[in-house]
């Protein structure tokens, strides 16, 4: 069948009888390589870099400048700088975008453009795929958070958490918040029915959540009924915990009931993490069979 030239060029190595044992640590090795590829794709997607990565950083620059000349919020325990409230707000927005928006759009596209099918036709463990996804979320979110802190503190002179307790709250709010938002992203990724509708469906959901959760509009601007609705979802609680971590204690007068409610924040983030994980587990299909 083959031409003489071809046979001479390639030494014929039979494909049968090869030892195809997958090496130990295959899942982790493939997963780490997936993180590398996920990061390459992340930085090359321009819309993603603008609307997921750079968006909260740009908004921090804009909002913090705009609120810079606003009157301070008067509380019984002193004045609160409304511009400073933008740092915890954008930190929460960053976690939401890096987790929910990034995974919601990314996984939906990979589901509909055949990427998942291509992966599942190869010996790629599904766990490796998720190592890649979560690795990408973690790395990009850490860089984004560091950039937000650098801008907030370096450019505007806002303060880092001042006490061990505030640092602790920042720690769990960030960690659990990112996990929660990632799981919700995986759940949300099941809604779009095509590549083109991925952004169109995920972005409005994420945007709406941010508006009602006191991120773009500070909580002092929102009517109480809207805050009550937002408080059903985890983002408002993530933003609440971030404000605790970055604002002086007097800022509690701007909160609902004029107090911090970190217990509920922790509980709501944990509960939504469980809900998101459950939905993701039940709806995600690695090998889609029809």
């Amino acid at each position: 069948m083959s031409t003489a030239a071809n046979t001479a060029m390639h030494t014929v190595t039979p494909v049968t009888g090869l030892d195809r044992t997958l090496p130990p640590g295959h899942t982790l090795r493939v997963g780490i390589d997936r993180i590398r590829l996920e990061l390459l794709e992340y930085v090359r997607r321009v819309d993603n870099m603008i609307f997921t990565f750079a968006f909260p950083i740009m908004l921090l620059l804009i909002f913090a400048s705009a609120f810079g000349s606003a009157d301070p919020v008067q509380t019984p325990e002193g004045e609160i700088d409304p511009a400073a409230m933008m740092l915890p707000a954008m930190l929460a927005a960053g976690v939401l975008l890096s987790g929910t928006q990034n995974l919601g759009i990314g996984v939906a596209i990979e589901k509909w453009d055949g990427t998942l099918r291509r992966f599942s036709a190869m010996p790629i463990p599904v766990a490796s795929y998720f190592i890649g996804k979560f690795g990408q979320v973690l790395v990009t979110s850490i860089v984004q958070t560091a950039a937000l802190l650098a801008v907030g503190i370096g450019v505007f002179g806002f303060e880092l958490p001042q006490s061990g307790e505030q640092w602790g709250v920042f720690g769990w709010a960030y960690g659990l918040g990112l996990l929660c938002c990632s799981m919700l992203g995986l759940a949300l990724a099941q809604l779009p029915r095509s590549v083109n509708s991925a952004s169109a469906i995920v972005i409005p959901v994420v945007l709406l959540l941010q508006f009602i959760s006191g991120i773009y509009l500070t909580i002092t601007m929102l009517p109480e009924w809207l805050i009550q609705i937002a408080n059903v979802f985890p983002v408002a609680w993530l933003a609440h915990a971030m404000r605790f971590a970055f604002m002086p204690d007097a800022a509690r007068f701007a909160e609902l009931n004029q107090e911090w409610d970190l217990g509920t924040a922790l509980l709501m983030l944990a509960a939504w993490t469980v809900v998101g994980t459950a939905i993701a587990l039940f709806t995600f299909r690695w090998v889609k069979r029809s």
């Binding site: 083959s2 039979p14 997958l22 596209i109 055949g114 291509r118 010996p123 790629i124 090998v287 029809s290």
Partner: protein, 289 residues
Amino acid sequence: MQPAIQVKSLTKKYGDHTVVDDVSFEIEQGETFALLGPNGAGKSTTVETLEGYRKPTSGDVRVLGTDPLRGGLSWRSRIGVVAQSLGSETMLTTRELLSHAARVFPTPRSVDEVLEIVGLSEHAGKLTRKLSGGQKRRVDLALGIMGRPEVLFLDEPTTGLDPEVRRQIWDLIDDLSDQGTTVLLTTHYLDEAEQLARRAGVIIGGKLVTVDAVDRIGGADARVPVVRWQEGGRVHEERTEHPTSLVARLAEERGELARLEVIRPTLETIYLGMLREHGSHDMLQEATS
């Protein structure tokens, strides 16, 4: 030796619609087998069932002795899938995609070797989404052969490609076959089936109409030459094993014959005959267009 692929009474229904209707065939190890048929005939459904992406309504399929629905990672490492334009939104280059595949398979080919085989060495650093249609098809092919598969599924590997690229891909499939790769190819190009496969099945309207050696498809009768001429405004046809004597006799009896032709049916005419017999008008139109 156990066949590489076994399909027994495979039926796939979606609601009342039967897409694949009681299809059975076997492919020996190392064989290249073509599944021929017009679009929508059930070729891809059959192949996707063998790849583990569709659940049979009834029947039994085995690939390398394994039910594709239960095939794990080690089974996946033995098969290669060349499906149509998967991962079209990726922001990676061809080299990046192949290097990743090389880390995923236990017995990979070298990235440079595969790039050269499929003729993409010069374009390896470009984002695959920026490549031409034919180049993208070769990326699909490169990913399919990266793991040195024992069984390779090729779903319409050359559809829409220019003749030169088709020829290159045919050479490549021949080489894979020389290495003992079992190839299941779907195509609606007859020349492709004739060129690559020793045996072929023709699937029309979900039914496997025939399975035979490519040079025997349709049976010996279908290859009997036809003598055709026009007389009194009508087209006459006569099938004969001895067209020369028939033409001589006709010339003697009736003198000069209008529009005289001696036709030796090619696989193409045989195939079109099958479509006419089994298929709808639409299928025929599509196959001839």
